[in-house]
Structure formats: structure tokens, C-alpha cells
């Protein structure tokens, strides 16, 4: 195996190997565990940097192993996968720091961090998967590795939440399996390709292909929580905050959204999808999800639940961008893959810190929290404003591209959806901000925890949200840097549309 050929596999292994090793470590060996985690995360980032550089020079990075006759196990780096990789790698690093702080002194940490690393490995695999089979393997592996994280608390409620999660995702997995096999049966051993891989067989198989597309959407819709397949998401909120953060920003929900992007662009091809007429139903479903998710969010008092419904709504922006047939919409959708991740993780970090530091889990308890934990709340505010789409946050960029994309695609009603959703977003986020910053504190905090030190909370709980909060602004301010996100996403979209 040459260096170029082993690089994608190495990227997966940089978290897989530490993950497996961590399982065998004693609870008390915090140092070794942290070192392993950090080493893996940094190594992963370095490898990704190497790959970005190579990709700009048109190098191909591909690991290929025989799996079954005609079907290989393929990990391949392309512009889209790198985008997802770097998002996952960076947020993994931050979340690991956060999780170490969050879980200090709690039991079963080896198990937790082991599965945590496996989760990230699966996400990397999903990102790099070069064909459907490889994608399927990692997609299901992700389901398996997240279950122990969801039920980590081990009480009745956690087990119930985990059960719901499994039922949804396994049924979704069954649909995905069917779609994959059917696709292989019709199209033979195809692999993902920029611009789509099935042009040759579209005629004569329009019916089955349409059904397969909807099977894919249904399967991915479960993980990306498209209404009405979103039922597991609020119930999986029993997981510890770092897990929720990872689930919503990087791993599960994002894997579903990424699947929609991948399958639409690189399997069917956007033109074929448009030709089959499957984009409009997707557009309607996602628009519906955006509205319904937001409306449901308004009625939640539990912070994490409100954030969960917000995720339901926000993740659908990605699929909406895909469904808007046109380059601008696509740019918006794909960018939101990153933006939503960074902003949502900030919000979850914040929510976790409130809980861990003050015992605050409900919005009604948040009065005056801005004065007690100003830095955390500031980060939270940035995330919330981003979700609403206030400039200069990253969220504004997304909505801008989606809006112009809608005009480009002549789907003007989508603009209405965007505006309505922004209003709703404001409707469920602004009251939080008002309470936190402007209302006086109501009595004692539910259970205040003194971490000592100079900061408002333990530094490992503070640093991650601040960092991601800053990112949320930087992504908005500097979207148009020469080698920035927008540049990269334009590169992707140019290839997908074969422009």
C-alpha cells in the first residue's frame, strides 16, 4: 500500500485504534486516556491537512480492499468528504476536551471515551466512503456505537430513550440496506462519482430508481430527523451533554444529512434527481420539517429539548439546499452542514455547562444566568443568533445562499419558509437571551457546583463553547477568504453540477 492509498484508512484508524485501546484501560488512567484521545485527534487533523493540500494538487487518495466479488471496500477523499472530515475532526477535538471536563469523576469513562472515538471513526468512514457498501457499513456502525453513549447514564429513562433510538435507526437501517441492495441489483457495482454514477441506466429503470431514492431519503430521514421520522431525537436527549452535542452537530443527525447530500449528488447526480422529479417532494418534506420543528421547539421548557427540536428544523436546511435545484442553493445547503454543526455544538456546550455548573436544565430557571456565567452565555448567544440567521454569524450566510438559491430555482415560496422559520427561530431563542441577560436572578440556582479556579466554571467546560462560538462568527465574517469554506464549497458544487 502506498502512502496515498493508506491515508484515508489511517484517518479512520486515528480514532478507531485509540478507541479500542481505551476500552482496555482502567478507569483511573486519565492521563493515558487523554493523551491517546488528543494524539488521535491531532494526528487526524494533520492527516486531513495533508489531504487537503494533496487534493488541491489533484492527488487521489483512495484505500481499496476487496469485500465481495464486484464490491470493494473503498475509502476515498474528495472535496465533499474532506469538508465533513474536517468538521468532525475539529469538533471531536473540542468535544473531547469538553467531555473530559463534563464527565470528571463520573463512572464508566473508559467505556464512554472508547465508544466516543468509535463514533468519530464511523463518521470519518461515512465521510470517506467511496461507494454505497462502505457507506452502509459505517452508517450502521455509527448506530451501534452511539447506542451505549445514549444510554450512558444507565437509568430507566436512558434505557427507554436508547430503545427508541435503536428502533428508529435500525428500521431506517433496514430501509437503507434495501435501497443499497436494490441499487446494486439494478446498476451493478457502482461507486460515488462527482455528478452522479447512474446516468447510463436511468432510462428503463425510472420507476425503481424513484422508489429507491425515496427509500434512501426515508432511511437518512430517520437519522437526520425529518418530520415525521424525528421522534427519537428528543427522547435521545437523556444522553450526557457532550453526547448530545456530538450527535446533533457531527455524528448521527449530520450523517443522515450527509447521506442525502452524497446520494443526491454523487450517486444519482443532481440532474438525474431533478429529471426523476424527486426533488420537489424532498423540498416540501424539508420545508415542512423546518416549520414543524421550529413550532415544536417553542413549546419546550427543557433547554436540551428545545435545542433538539431546533436541530430537527435546522438540519433540514441542508437537505433543502440540496432539493433546490441550482448551484446557489447547493452552496447554502452544503455550507450549512458545517455552520449548523459549529453553532449547534456551541449551544449544547452551553446547555451542558449550565446544567453541570448550576443545575439549570430548564429555560424558566435561566433568569439572570448571563451575569453568573457571562462567557458561556455569550457563546450561547452567538449560537442562538446564528440559528436565527443574524449577520454577521455563519447562519446568515447559509440563509443568504438558500434564499438566493430559491430565487434561482424559481421556488419563491421557499423564501417564505425561510422567513417564517427565522421568525420562529427568533421566537424560541430570543426569550432565552432576554431572560439570561436582562432578567434578575430568581433565588438560588438549583444545584450550584463550585469548581474553584478563576473562571465562571471549570475551564474544560468553558473553553470549548467559547472556541466554537468564536468559530461561528469567524465563519460568517470571513466566509469569502481565498481558501475559506465558501471557496471549498464552491469547488464541490462546481464539480457536482459539472460546470
Amino acid at each position: 500500500m502506498t502512502w496515498e492509498n493508506s491515508l484515508p484508512l489511517l484517518i479512520v484508524l486515528t480514532s478507531l485504534v485509540p478507541g479500542v485501546v481505551i476500552f482496555f484501560l482502567k478507569e483511573s488512567t486519565v492521563g493515558v486516556r487523554t493523551t491517546l484521545n488528543m494524539f488521535g485527534a491531532v494526528a487526524k487533523l494533520v492527516l486531513i491537512a495533508v489531504m487537503i493540500n494533496g487534493l488541491l494538487n489533484e492527488t487521489t487518495y483512495e484505500t481499496r480492499l476487496p469485500f465481495l466479488p464486484g464490491i470493494d471496500f473503498v475509502l476515498r477523499a474528495d472535496t465533499l468528504s474532506i469538508l465533513f472530515c474536517i468538521l468532525s475532526a475539529v469538533l471531536w477535538l473540542v468535544t473531547t476536551i469538553y467531555a473530559i471536563g463534563y464527565l470528571e469523576h463520573s463512572p464508566n469513562r473508559s467505556r464512554f471515551f472508547g465508544f466516543f472515538s468509535l463514533c468519530v471513526s464511523s463518521t470519518m468512514g461515512i465521510a470517506l466512503a467511496g461507494n454505497l457498501m462502505t457507506f452502509l457499513i459505517f452508517y450502521e456502525l455509527l448506530t451501534i456505537c452511539t447506542y451505549p453513549l445514549v444510554v450512558h447514564k444507565g437509568d430507566e429513562k436512558a434505557l427507554r430513550g436508547g430503545r427508541t433510538y435503536l428502533i428508529y435507526t435500525l428500521v431506517g437501517g433496514g430501509a437503507l440496506l434495501l435501497a443499497v441492495i436494490w441499487m446494486y441489483a439494478i446498476a451493478g457495482p457502482i461507486e460515488f462519482r462527482d455528478g452522479g454514477a447512474i446516468d447510463a441506466i436511468v432510462e428503463g429503470a425510472r420507476g425503481p430508481l424513484t422508489v429507491i431514492y425515496f427509500l434512501f431519503i426515508a432511511a437518512f430521514g430517520v437519522k437526520s430527523a425529518i418530520v415525521p421520522l424525528h421522534g427519537w431525537l428528543p427522547r435521545a436527549m437523556v444522553a450526557p451533554a457532550p453526547v448530545s452535542a456530538l450527535l446533533h452537530a457531527v455524528a448521527v443527525v449530520k450523517a443522515g444529512a450527509f447521506g442525502i447530500v452524497r446520494v443526491t449528488y454523487d450517486l444519482f447526480g443532481i440532474d438525474v434527481a431533478n429529471d426523476l422529479g424527486v426533488l420537489t417532494p424532498l423540498m416540501i418534506a424539508t420545508s415542512l420539517t423546518i416549520i414543524v420543528g421550529s413550532v415544536l421547539a417553542i413549546f419546550q421548557d427543557d433547554i436540551k429539548k428545545r435545542l433538539a427540536y431546533s436541530t430537527v428544523s435546522q438540519v433540514s436546511y441542508i437537505a433543502l439546499g440540496v432539493a433546490l435545484f441550482g448551484p446557489l442553493g447547493s452552496i447554502g445547503g452544503i455550507m450549512h452542514l458545517v455552520h449548523q454543526g459549529v453553532m449547534k455544538i456551541t449551544l449544547f456546550f452551553g446547555a451542558g455547562s449550565f446544567d453541570e455548573t448550576l443545575g439549570v436544565t430548564k429555560i424558566s430557571q435561566m433568569d439572570g444566568i448571563g451575569r453568573r456565567m457571562p462567557l458561556t452565555m455569550a457563546a450561547f448567544t452567538v449560537g442562538a443568533l446564528g440559528m436565527i440567521g443574524v449577520p454577521p454569524t455563519a447562519g446568515f450566510i447559509t440563509k443568504w445562499f438558500l434564499g438566493t438559491g430559491a430565487i434561482e430555482a424559481n421556488s419563491h415560496w421557499v423564501i417564505g419558509v425561510l422567513i417564517l422559520s427565522s421568525l420562529l427561530n427568533a421566537g424560541y431563542f430570543l426569550p432565552i437571551l432576554y431572560r439570561a441577560w436582562f432578567k434578575p436572578q430568581k433565588g438560588d440556582w438549583p444545584s450550584e457546583h463550585d469548581f474553584g479556579g478563576r473562571f465562571e466554571t471549570f475551564w474544560m467546560l468553558l473553553l470549548p463553547p467559547v472556541v466554537t462560538g468564536v468559530f461561528s462568527i469567524l465563519l460568517g465574517l470571513f466566509a469569502n477568504l481565498p481558501v475559506g469554506l465558501l471557496y471549498w464549497v464552491r469547488l464541490i458544487v462546481l464539480r457536482e453540477y459539472e460546470l
Binding site: 480492499l65 465481495l68 452502509l136 457499513i137 450502521e140 436512558a158 430503545r163 441492495i181 441489483a185
Partner: protein, 498 residues
Amino acid sequence: MPQDLAFWLPVVIAVPLMAAVLAFLLPRAAFPISLGAALITSGLVCWAALAAVNAGPATHTVGGWSAPLGIDLVLDGLSGLLLVLTAIIGLAITVYAHGYFQPGDDLVKQHQYNFFWPLWMFLWASLNALFLSADVFNLYVTLELLGFSAVALTALAGKPTVLKAAMRYLMVSLSGSLFYLMGVVFLYAQFGTLDIRLLSAASAETPTLLASAALITTGLIMKSALFPLHFWLPPAHANAAAPVSALLSALVVKGSLYIVLRLWLEVFYPLADTVAPQVLSVLGVGAVLWGSLQAMQQPRLKLLIAYSTVAQLGYMFLLMPILLKNRDDSTALAATMSFVFAHAVAKAAAFLSAGSILHALKDDRLTALSGLMKKMPVTTAAFAMAGISLIALPPSAGFLAKYQMLQSALTNGYWGLVFVVIGGGLLAAVYIMRVLGPAFKKVEPYGAESTSKAVHVPLVMSIPTLALALLAIVISFMGVYLLELLAVGTPWVLKGGL
């Protein structure tokens, strides 16, 4: 030393057979003898499989009398795959059993330990003999050897329940063999030979062939516990000692299954267009559904795993119509055999973990298993990996197999089977989660008695369990090698496995 592959075929049978004799004669040295035989046999089998991939199938003419007068031993892909499977699982169980039956000062346990070895070596020898035989009557004798050793091993646990189970098992096994033998008699009456290849060449759709196929298939599916003839399996597999349960579920039922496949492929193929293959497939569907539903209701872990075997055995018959429709196209056979391989490895791992749990907690009721992840992390992890393979989630051996099954069913237009296979996986998820769900429960510091006094599981038990469980995952990346082996000369008549 002759490098000829054919030369070594009888050695694969003779080594465990002699080990059985010696283990009986010298009880004190039984374990070293058996371990030595296990290592030699496994090594030889794996070498033979590799040699077969490179050099093609091999035939050993026993006594120098070739068929029709004598008996031939034939190694091809189908038998090679099962021999390798037996070797892998056999080796793991040999090590595990040394820990599990460790007698200490207990006389009864000492007795069990002493007799396990010769019986197990007999069982291994009979499996190897069965897979290699090319003669229908010789297969009968190997079937009986297999059945007797399996029954005796089942009864080894000694409790009344297990004796009853063993008795039921003996009767099913014996009457199954007699059905089989009657079928052989019919074959001899019609074709005047007992050699499978000669039968294959002469085979034609006659009433006798039909009767023979009916008798033989009935007899063998009784032994393989295909629904609705599975009634004897759960009590036997659930109540036997754990290493024995693993052997029974992973290997013994596969012996008779192998003969079904072999004979339908080689001899009964003129009946491919009759309703018979469809019937087997429908029974398979019944097994998947019924077995899974039963597994969802069992109060004890080992019973649950045993019913899972009933369900999983169903899959092995699902593709019979496709498998026989076009014998040239081996995808259905490949799918079925991948499934056999996957199930054997995963089920052995599952039963061995159940054995470790029983060994540690003295209790395998599901209610006693909450918080298992904390108490016995290695064993739980092993069970989880086995469970993943049984559900057929990727990456696992079970997934590899079910993927091929789905592909085969879909390309041949059997949509019903597609839904059965996917639905069966979901049902399996439900019963596996009955175990793994509570395993993640937080253990109260002073809580439930049963989980708070877990004892240490010795390494001789946990290592083979974990090894098999890991294998159940790793095999998913070895699919091409398995299929390469399977492609060696099966079926004999068409691909020249002479």
C-alpha cells in the same frame, strides 16, 4: 513426506479419532491429547483448504478401491469451508471447555471433564468424516457417529431436564437417520450405486428419486431442526453445558444441513422444478418468524440463544429454490454458506459468553443480567459482537451473509424473501436487545444480589469467547477468501470436483 493434498484427507479424520481413543484410555492426559489433536487437525485443515484453493479439489480413494466399489473422500469448496469452520470453532471450544469443566475436587465434575474429551474428539472426527464423505451410506454412519456423540455430550450435564432433552434428541436423531437410510435404500434400488458422483450422473426424475428425496430430506431436517421439526432443539441446546451448546448450535446441526445441500445439488437436482425446494423455503420463513418470536419471550439467556438458532436455521433453507434453479450460478450457495459460517461463529461466541455468565453468576435469567456491562465487560462485549452478527448489522459476518442472500433474492425476483431477511434482522435486534439493553443499566452500589457478586471469568474461557466474537466481526472483511474457497469444484458434477 508427500505434499499431495489427497494423501492427507484421511488424516484429518484419523487424528481426532485416535485422540478420542487415547483420551478415553488415559483420562488424566485427556486434555493435552485433545488439545494436541485439535491443533494438528486445525492446522492440517487450514493448510488443506489453502491447498485446495490453489490446486483444486482432491479425492482420496480409501482402500485403493475407487467408486462404485469403494468409498471416496472428496475435498471441495463446500466441504472445505465446513472443515475450516469446524477447525476454528473446535479449537476455541477445546480451550474454553478446559476452563468450563475444570473439576476442582468435585467428583461429578471430574467425571464430566473426563468424558467430555473423548466424546468431543469423536464428534470432531465424525464431522470431518461427514464433510469429506462421497458415499451416501458412509454418510449414514457418520451421521450416527455425530448423533451419538452429540446426544452423549448433551446428557453430560446430568440434570433431569437435560436427560429428557437428550432423550428427545436421541429419538429425533435416530428416527431421522432411519428416514435417511430408507432414502438411501431407495436410491440404491433405483440406481444401484451409493457414490454421490455416480448417482449424480445417473439421476433422473423418477418416483423413486422423489421418494428418496422426501425421505432423506425429512430425516435430515429433523436433525437440523428446521421448523416445525425444531421442538427438540431448544431444550437440548439450552440445557446442555455451554461448550456443548456451542458445539450443537454451531456445528452439529450443520452436519445434516450439509448433506441436504450436497444431495440436492448433486443428486436430487432433477426435482428442482417440483414444489419441494419451495416448501423448504417456506419452512425456512416459518422458522425465522417463529424462532424469533419465541426468542423474544424466553426468560433465560440460553433458551433465548437456542430459539435464535431455530430462527437462524431457517435462513439456511430460504434460498433453496434459487440455489437449485441454476446450479451453475453459485451466488445463492455462496450466500447460504456464508450464512452457515457466520451463524456458527456468532452462535458459538454467544453460547460461550452465556456459559461464562452462567459460570460467574450461577444464573442466566434475563432479569439477573442488568448491569452486566459493568460486571463482565469482556463477556458482554463478546456477546454484543456476536449479537451484532446475529442481527446482521455491518460490519459483521452475519451482514456479509445476509447481504448476499438479499442480493440473490432480489436479482431472482424473490421479493418476499427480501422482506423476510430484513424483517428477520429487526426481530433479531429485538431479542438481542432484551439482553444488551439491561446490560447497560447502572448497577446500584448495594443493589441486586445476583449482579453484585460476580466472580472472575478465567482467561481460558474469556479469550476463546472473545476470539470467536471478534472473528464474527472480522470475517466481514474476509468474504472474498471464503468465496474463493467455496468456488473450488462445487457442485461436483458441474465443476469437476472429482
